[in-house]
């Protein structure tokens, strides 16, 4: 329940600070909250991961780069 409740806590904070901008709808949890929680969990498990290089980011976001 660690990550579920981390989502609850951060979603409550999100509502407290963005209530005026929200309509009467069902919203998904903002992606940056999801990613923050995953990173914290990985850190707790002692897992580090790779980071995209600038070249790789360009490749993924461009349609002009070669195949």
């Amino acid at each position: 329940m660690d990550m579920s409740f981390a989502n609850q806590a951060l979603s409550a904070v999100y509502i407290a600070h963005h209530a005026g901008e929200l309509d009467n709808k069902v919203y998904s949890v903002p992606k940056d909250i999801d990613e923050t929680i995953a990173r914290l969990k990985l850190e707790a498990l002692g897992v580090t991961i790779d980071i995209l290089s600038e070249q790789q980011k360009r490749y993924l976001s461009s349609w002009k780069e070669g195949t």
Binding site: M1, M3, A6, Q8, I15
Partner: protein, 324 residues
């Protein structure tokens, strides 16, 4: 007047130890709590929570309080309340808590009202009971509410239905939709705890038994996978063609309930729907079949009808019901 309704005030010390134990396995929440203590991001918020009153929830409540929120808690299920945790929260953590294990329906709904009495600005639900009560009976809360959060698949389905009918009167964040929720708690958490619950109640040997899992959502995937890993022959029942195909390609037998039940030693419902196992299915069942529900509400197996029609002598054991 005490701002709580719990079973036994003398269970505080026991509850505290177990809450501390749970905290050891909640490193993400712990790091948020440290941040909340410094930044107080929930200062001025009145937060009403309706969740399973367990050791993990206690840690969430303390985190929210550390963030500056005023918090009240009631149970989202009358059977899951841990009375020692309720005692710890109410008395030592000083969080008004309304939850008694095994409480009847009347008490359950009175507790929901108790939590809404302080006119919350945020609701935190597991099954949309607070949202539903506010919209049906306590509409005075609507004038101050900022928004809500919802924990589970079943609650989110209800909220989306309310939104579609233009009945939803405040914004709600579907925590269940977060990938760090459903990909993990549903699949690994519910998967494990469902098997754990069945073993504690029945003490059966999983290996070699035929287990029918009804529903192949994230929870169903978890339950099926754990049972397979323990050596069961798992059959999956589905109504969604894509999920049925997924189950088939994951290596499970897939067939309709009416067929699957013929060989089943255990049936586990995890659908979020109603009357998944009904009288006509049981006509095909082996003697001694074990029926288990892991869905949010207790409507997936038509127990009321079975009691009346098939089995007049029902013996109740805590958390286990034998049908003769």
């Amino acid at each position: 007047m005490n701002l709580y309704d719990i079973k036994n005030e003398s269970l505080v010390a026991e509850g505290k130890l177990r809450v501390e134990w749970a905290a050891r396995n909640m490193p993400v929440l712990k790091s948020l709590r440290g941040r909340f203590e410094k930044e107080k991001p929930l200062q001025g918020i009145r937060l009403a929570a309706c969740l399973h009153v367990t050791t993990e929830t206690a840690n969430l409540m303390e985190t929210l309080k550390a963030g500056g929120a005023e918090v009240r808690l009631c149970a989202s299920n009358p059977l899951s309340t841990q009375d020692d945790v309720a005692a710890y929260l109410a008395i030592e953590a000083r969080i008004p808590t309304y939850a008694i294990k095994g409480e009847d329906n009347e008490t359950y709904y009175r507790h929901l009202k108790n939590v809404l009495e302080f006119i919350p600005t945020i609701t935190m639900d597991d099954g949309a009971d607070l949202v539903s009560t506010i919209h049906k009976e306590s509409r005075q809360v609507l004038s101050t509410i900022l928004g809500g959060t919802e924990e589970t698949t079943t609650g989110v389905i209800r909220l989306r239905a309310m939104e579609k009918d233009e009945e939803l009167m405040y914004p709600v964040i579907a925590v269940n939709d977060a990938q760090t929720k459903h990909l993990f708690d549903n699949r690994y958490g519910t998967g494990q705890s469902t098997v754990d619950g069945i073993l504690r109640a029945t003490n059966i040997l999983i290996s070699g038994s035929v287990i029918v899992v009804c529903g192949y959502g994230w929870c169903g995937k978890g339950v099926s996978g754990k049972c397979k890993g323990m050596g069961a022959n798992v059959i999956v029942c589905e109504v969604d063609p894509i999920r049925a195909l997924e189950a088939k390609m994951d290596g499970f037998a897939v067939m309709p309930m009416i067929e699957a039940i013929k060989n089943a030693d255990v049936i586990i419902t995890v659908t979020g729907n109603t009357t998944v196992i009904d009288e006509h299915h049981l006509e095909n069942a082996k003697d001694g079949i074990i029926l288990a529900n892991s869905g949010h509400f207790n409507v997936e197996i038509n127990v009321g009808r079975l009691n009346v029609l098939l089995y007049p002598n029902v013996r109740h054991v805590p958390m286990l019901k034998n049908l003769y």
